[in-house]
Symmetry: D3
Subunit: 302 residues, 6 copies
Amino acid sequence: MLNQQDVLIEKANILIEALPYIQHLAGKCVVVKYGGNAMLDERLTKKIMQDITLLKYVGVNPIVVHGGGPEINKTLAALNIESHFHNGLRVTDDAAMEVVQMVLTGKINKDITAGLNALGARAIGLCGIDANLIRVVKKPPVNGVDLGRVGQVVDVNTKLLKFLSEDEYIPVIAPIGVDEAGNSYNINADTVAGVVAARLAAEKLMFLTDVDGIREDPADPNTLLSCVTREQAEGMIEKGAIDGGMIPKVRGCLEAVAAGVRRAHILNGTIEHPILLEIFTREGIGTMVTTSEEGEQWSTGK
Amino acid sequence: MLNQQDVLIEKANILIEALPYIQHLAGKCVVVKYGGNAMLDERLTKKIMQDITLLKYVGVNPIVVHGGGPEINKTLAALNIESHFHNGLRVTDDAAMEVVQMVLTGKINKDITAGLNALGARAIGLCGIDANLIRVVKKPPVNGVDLGRVGQVVDVNTKLLKFLSEDEYIPVIAPIGVDEAGNSYNINADTVAGVVAARLAAEKLMFLTDVDGIREDPADPNTLLSCVTREQAEGMIEKGAIDGGMIPKVRGCLEAVAAGVRRAHILNGTIEHPILLEIFTREGIGTMVTTSEEGEQWSTGK
Amino acid sequence: MLNQQDVLIEKANILIEALPYIQHLAGKCVVVKYGGNAMLDERLTKKIMQDITLLKYVGVNPIVVHGGGPEINKTLAALNIESHFHNGLRVTDDAAMEVVQMVLTGKINKDITAGLNALGARAIGLCGIDANLIRVVKKPPVNGVDLGRVGQVVDVNTKLLKFLSEDEYIPVIAPIGVDEAGNSYNINADTVAGVVAARLAAEKLMFLTDVDGIREDPADPNTLLSCVTREQAEGMIEKGAIDGGMIPKVRGCLEAVAAGVRRAHILNGTIEHPILLEIFTREGIGTMVTTSEEGEQWSTGK
Amino acid sequence: MLNQQDVLIEKANILIEALPYIQHLAGKCVVVKYGGNAMLDERLTKKIMQDITLLKYVGVNPIVVHGGGPEINKTLAALNIESHFHNGLRVTDDAAMEVVQMVLTGKINKDITAGLNALGARAIGLCGIDANLIRVVKKPPVNGVDLGRVGQVVDVNTKLLKFLSEDEYIPVIAPIGVDEAGNSYNINADTVAGVVAARLAAEKLMFLTDVDGIREDPADPNTLLSCVTREQAEGMIEKGAIDGGMIPKVRGCLEAVAAGVRRAHILNGTIEHPILLEIFTREGIGTMVTTSEEGEQWSTGK
Amino acid sequence: MLNQQDVLIEKANILIEALPYIQHLAGKCVVVKYGGNAMLDERLTKKIMQDITLLKYVGVNPIVVHGGGPEINKTLAALNIESHFHNGLRVTDDAAMEVVQMVLTGKINKDITAGLNALGARAIGLCGIDANLIRVVKKPPVNGVDLGRVGQVVDVNTKLLKFLSEDEYIPVIAPIGVDEAGNSYNINADTVAGVVAARLAAEKLMFLTDVDGIREDPADPNTLLSCVTREQAEGMIEKGAIDGGMIPKVRGCLEAVAAGVRRAHILNGTIEHPILLEIFTREGIGTMVTTSEEGEQWSTGK
Amino acid sequence: MLNQQDVLIEKANILIEALPYIQHLAGKCVVVKYGGNAMLDERLTKKIMQDITLLKYVGVNPIVVHGGGPEINKTLAALNIESHFHNGLRVTDDAAMEVVQMVLTGKINKDITAGLNALGARAIGLCGIDANLIRVVKKPPVNGVDLGRVGQVVDVNTKLLKFLSEDEYIPVIAPIGVDEAGNSYNINADTVAGVVAARLAAEKLMFLTDVDGIREDPADPNTLLSCVTREQAEGMIEKGAIDGGMIPKVRGCLEAVAAGVRRAHILNGTIEHPILLEIFTREGIGTMVTTSEEGEQWSTGK
């Protein structure tokens, strides 16, 4: 049985284990996509906020991108705004867009920001409208269907993100874009995370999801892949081994890696402290999506 | 009849008339409280956005504080959230607070921000939650009535406001505060404007309202006062000559002036370009609330 | 008939019209060549000083280059210094040079500087001697005639000009150069303006003259050209359509444009506020000399 | 039994426990006195180096002061330099001083520096001679005995210490002082640590010793005091409860606290990670010496 | 006889002798008043320029104020402008003022500037007009006589002088002032030097004159005083031992010293390298005017 | 016979002679290798310290690299540590390395540093261990002989050297390197000087030795070469005209020059003020090693 002091020393040893990872990431940018199911459990959410705040305090520059999740549908329903669909694609009309924006930027974004700040961080909630952070154009019709107020990213105001994140602030970004005329648009949050990481040449991009990562056989948890290369991932999408909501995440990873992000990860955000587990342990967790060369190195140790 | 060139020269002369005012305000902070009825007319709103953008580009550092107005009630109604009242005071319960925050920070705040940015500004929408911009405590019960989620300002993060407004950005502030635990609270926007101006020792604080200013006789538009001192204003509140929604504005002016703001103004925001009219013309518009000494000087010219 | 308030609103609208031009020029360098006949009328001179001061206060970085004009001849005459000519070319001997320098740097330069500063600017009068601002070599004999103390520019101290003009100062430059040994030389002011604009890659170079611009037919004011390309201008010089004192101005424009200045203008400095008219109106005034590509765009709108 | 993931989560929880302490110390200066017996065990030494390196990487500015210990005597003996004593006080003659300086600055100082740098720190070994870091005068005779080359601190070059420690460097200071003429002197390392902490108004001063702290009854380990006030400590010195090598440490603490250092600690440097245990756990370890007021607060929680 | 190498070593020893003086003056401001007879001999002038350039390069921040001398009268005469006198006081009418300004700022100022720059300095010629460097009001009538365009200093733009002299530039100032309306005025150069030194709290103020300093008996060169206190100097003015052109210099010294300048000197500018002789030798030259306390210290060594 | 004032003026003339050299070297880096016999005479040493301090104060950035000399052998002997040799090459075992490090970094380095600081400099003694200033790997066996703790330079922390030397400090470097694991190694000081100068692209590298420079005929002092090109120097090494301790110095020069150092010099450090003689006189002293092109220019004047 360990006495009191041995317990403390064991704790100190664990802090020291984190040192090389802290040293490696010092002053670098890490983009965390956080959303959907990962934000449903308040207790887990707090642990993720702690992870991000700790990152900031040990010298890393985190940037948070969040998604929407069930709140939007709940509010749409409460306001009796029906969602229209054309051939299975949801259409964001002006009434829906107003709600989407209110919920994303006025509720979820501010809740995350308040959660971080209550832990001593200095997070600032932003959306693409602020200083034209995310410039978009209206997405062209898909299969002839006009999707309404859905945007396609054309530019990111990286100057603002550096101004804030290289100072004492943590930017928290809601996935709303703005066009030249000042109209706002809905954007896929995974895409926003990928583009932001790519434009900032972030050191890491992390998608917090509700699965452990990519599985070779989606049905078999024992087939979790700790690392997939670009080619592997594209093959898996093609043959359907990656599908559904996982596709934009994997695509976000691939695009970010192609644009210079060193490592992109798909993690399970429904366990405790997923960010710290990935960053501060030798093994990491989840699936790392990477270029072929990096993938090869990986096989010989993180 | 003026020919083309004479018209242009006349325009140039008007630009030159603005020069001494531009010189006087260069590098100084001007807080604009904008809200309520002043934001109902889209055409007028655009002109106010133009005024603020022009201020920024001629070297002034504007900060915008906005209020809520009818949007909140409209959304509360659409969501079937009833407002409770105790002895005539409205109580903000948790359900109402969620809506208030969504509408203020997710709709009105972002609309103003988008409006400014569409004109070439780089506005950033903030509320008291962001980097704990406005720290509050819960307002104590008034006459024994717990008003719910209504806050009382205890601190302003002036460091963040200077960081942004002395750089290329225009902060746009929604009147939401946050307590130590991260809970958000509703605050009177006029109070926020007054406190922000006071803490920044702003050069000017401007309340855009729907009246021309303070009248000696509220019923008689010909009794508009262009300047009232602290003592006069307090006397008028006491004897009821100033009442209703004008009280928090006048109080905001008085507190700001007492705290070092040079001049506080109550203007009609429902005319075109009220900010430019006040700032860039010799006569100014509206009512200036000021200390006694300043009031005396005023009588001999602006 | 407009009432008082409508007049003020009209003035505000005119200020707002200037906003896009202010935004476009923010932080950019504009070189103004001012001299000769344009400086004879004190009332007009003051308006030009106002234009330059306004430019500085709305965030543009103006640099003024001035010429000499009749003052030099007047002082030479008063001192009984005869000007010698060889084959029609004036020769600047040492005695004349002393007078030229005194009048340019001690009278005209300081008068312009004082005029700007009386309007609230912080102008600093300089000549090529100051910190070796304009390094010259003696001009080689022209057609065998030694022109005496006439210089040919070999270098410009752009570091000093940026140090001052990117801070709060407006450099006002007299066209005197200096050689390695510290001897001063007379230089054509148009040439100085062109070289300074070129070395600083200024956004604009403006020659204030006493004509409206370049005319297709010099005799016919209705043939004013609002834009000429390099090729057109060279053709016109060749066939004599541009001649006399206009040649160094057009050449200054062409060289500056060739060296990276975006737009070079020849304006009438004898009307009121010519600089504001050119910069802050959609139509502009005078003739713009530009590269061919820019010229083509021009035809479709400024 | 914990599975692999639970073990990792437990580690992450321990990192998070450190967050409030990291936040509290961010950007602050911590002076660590390290020496004597605490540096004999190479394995423990490495753990102390890890603690200091971790401090630096989580945003604290550590400064290390070290002592000498047995190395000096070993080298003096190897060189057959006898130590002279007068009435029990050791006299540092010139020959001994040369050895003291060589061992302190050329061996111990560089070993600590190399140890830190091998862990990824950027430590710089200094002594009082470097940029006149520690200015001394010769200590006056004690009881009529001239102690030779023993110095009394008169000034500390805090500018250099801030220049280095507020940048990426960790200063490591050997207790050698220098007089105006450039002669070096031996100084008590505990005194140096106290003076350096005092002049920098450090947040913390930590003495790593070979005992657990101050005991009420020196003979009874169960009487360890976790906090003593100035008055208590002075009383204990007077009545002999604190004696020997503990006296300069306690005095160093008292002087530092009197000069503005917030908290001074006496810790056992022969256990693992003593610095992290003190800083990053709620209970801390060792004895804190503090002012009376702070001592009172202490009784109600750290 | 010294061989070649010994001669060189002797030279090196002389450089080393200057080291303590260089160290003492590093980064400090030294104002040199230079004018009148001291600038008549071109060979001596060059040596003074060398002194000033050397000062700049060894880390001192010199500022030069110059006077006018015979050039003004020569040009007035050549232009047939008569000087009017009332009761022995010269009246500067507008015509004379124009000449005074041209000669001072356009000839003498630029000649000194060119002389310094030919030696590798980066001097900038200024007068009170530039950025309103020296603000004056018209001097009130003296004994009922209106002296015309003669100014009394009310403000100095020390910001500009620091901006230039703490960077790589040497300001060279002509004694012309400017009033609010932009009119220029003649000012006594000694007064300008004194005021500039006082406002900058210069380390030294040096008047280069054509006498060796203040003599106890003006007629006897052997009675040169190396140091006089404020009281002594005032006594000597009262009893007439200091008179004529020496009075404004001594007054300039006294005012500067009273305003915080450490040492003010009256030197003979007609010997070679007077500035270096004063600054870089133990004995110094000329007379130092100082406060009483400093005077006392002086008696025991420089 | 010169009177007092003429003597002073002569001194001032000598200061002025140094001006062009001071101007040329302003802000540039000069590396001085100082060691061995040149540091035996305390009086001469002080003069070299003066030279280096003067350089710093006139705006040059000197960096000192020193060697070891007889002190090391003396201390090894006193400690009865025998030096082992294999085939004439000395082997540095661990015991010897400890002494080498102590003497170099704890005695010689600190003595030089103290000497400079006593003259008013702010020198900081460093070795390769400090902030990993000189990274080495163990030198591979030479002719099959393992030389023990002898290092080969692989990297220099130029960031630290610039951080200190471009601020107010003079780095003084002992020739000790460090490997990745934190072990220290002995390195040839001449090599260190050459590498440091090369990596910093220093303006000058100066080896202070005990000979006048390179002689065409080593036996004949009249054959001193004031300049040799790379090719000449290599030819002379090959045919044995340069040998012994001169070889690493000449190689250090050649490598430095090849890497971008403008001029490398071999000087006699046993005369007074060798650094000033080389830098501040037209003729210079010693032998300059240079590229061929520079060598050709040299023949026509320094």
